[in-house]
């Protein structure tokens, strides 16, 4: 699984994201939990991530702000549930741009032959929230704004 695999079953509130990394589990866990490392990979190139707080413990708060090349800022925050460990990092996640639509992320790391599989299960509170994100974001959102709208809308109907 060299590419990121994203799965979203119809009618479910879940999205799963799976990806293998050519590194031991402890190292991948560090990359997921140390702010200095997280800032180096979280988000696409061209987006700057600043981790404001990252209290990696049960009940610990986290918040990061991402800035794009047009100075648009996107802030996210949440809380860790349970002490984060390679077996499970459980946290709530909320985009401050659309408050109230909180999801729960569970990240599990498993190691095989020196490679680590990272599986993220994102649980939305309702199918509508998830579908708005999936239908919009993953099916037709992949197309940039300059493309013809009719094409975007046709894609929308696939779901």
């Amino acid at each position: 699984m060299l590419k990121t695999e994203i799965t979203a079953e119809p009618g479910s509130t879940l999205v799963t994201i799976t990806r293998d990394f050519d590194a031991p589990r402890d190292l991948v866990f560090r990359a997921y939990t140390e702010p200095g490392l997280l800032e180096q990979w979280l988000g696409p190139r061209g987006l700057t991530t600043v981790v404001e707080r990252y209290e990696v413990r049960d009940g610990g708060k986290w918040r990061f702000v991402q800035t794009d090349s047009d100075d648009g800022t996107y802030a996210f925050h949440g809380v860790f549930h349970g002490d984060p460990a390679p077996e499970a990092i459980v946290q709530t996640f909320e985009f401050e741009g659309v408050p109230g639509h909180v999801k729960l992320d569970t990240v599990t790391l498993t190691e095989h032959d020196g490679k680590t599989r990272v599986r993220t299960v994102a649980a939305f509170t309702c199918v509508e929230d998830r579908d708005a994100m999936i239908a919009a974001g993953m099916e037709w959102g992949v197309r940039e704004g300059d493309e013809r709208l009719a094409e975007l809308l046709a894609k929308l109907q696939v779901g």
Binding site: V98, A132, G137, R143, E144
Partner: protein, 114 residues
């Protein structure tokens, strides 16, 4: 209205399959409520309710031509959402590629230190 509030309205409007089909129809051109209701087994008042939600999200505007009241697709809010969501889509692919690079660098550093 703040961008966040507008995005929230647009998300809500797009969450319904009937409204997405109405938008698809309007992408082909302006239409009356009767024309929009035709493909659905749905009353015109029911379609009007959906149009109201789309109008509040800024996705549809209404104009009058003679006695006909026409609905028209407004593309800008969709572009706004699309732009943001396209970033979301790219987010994981590119993040994971960066993580590959970081993990490789960390392992190399670890080997040097050992």
């Amino acid at each position: 209205m703040k961008t966040a509030d507008r995005l929230s309205l647009v998300f809500g409007a797009l969450a319904d399959p009937t409204r997405r089909e109405i938008l698809t129809r309007l992408a082909q051109g302006e239409a009356t409520v009767a024309e929009l209701a035709a493909p659905f087994s749905m009353s015109q008042p029911a379609v009007s309710k959906h149009l109201k939600v789309l109008e509040e999200a800024g996705l549809v505007s209404r104009t009058r031509r003679a006695t006909a009241r026409l609905s028209r697709l407004e593309a800008e809010p969709l572009r706004e959402v699309t732009t943001w969501l396209a970033r979301y889509q790219r987010f994981w692919d590119e993040s994971h590629e960066r993580l590959d690079d970081l993990l490789a660098a960390l392992q190399e550093k670890g080997n040097d230190d050992a």
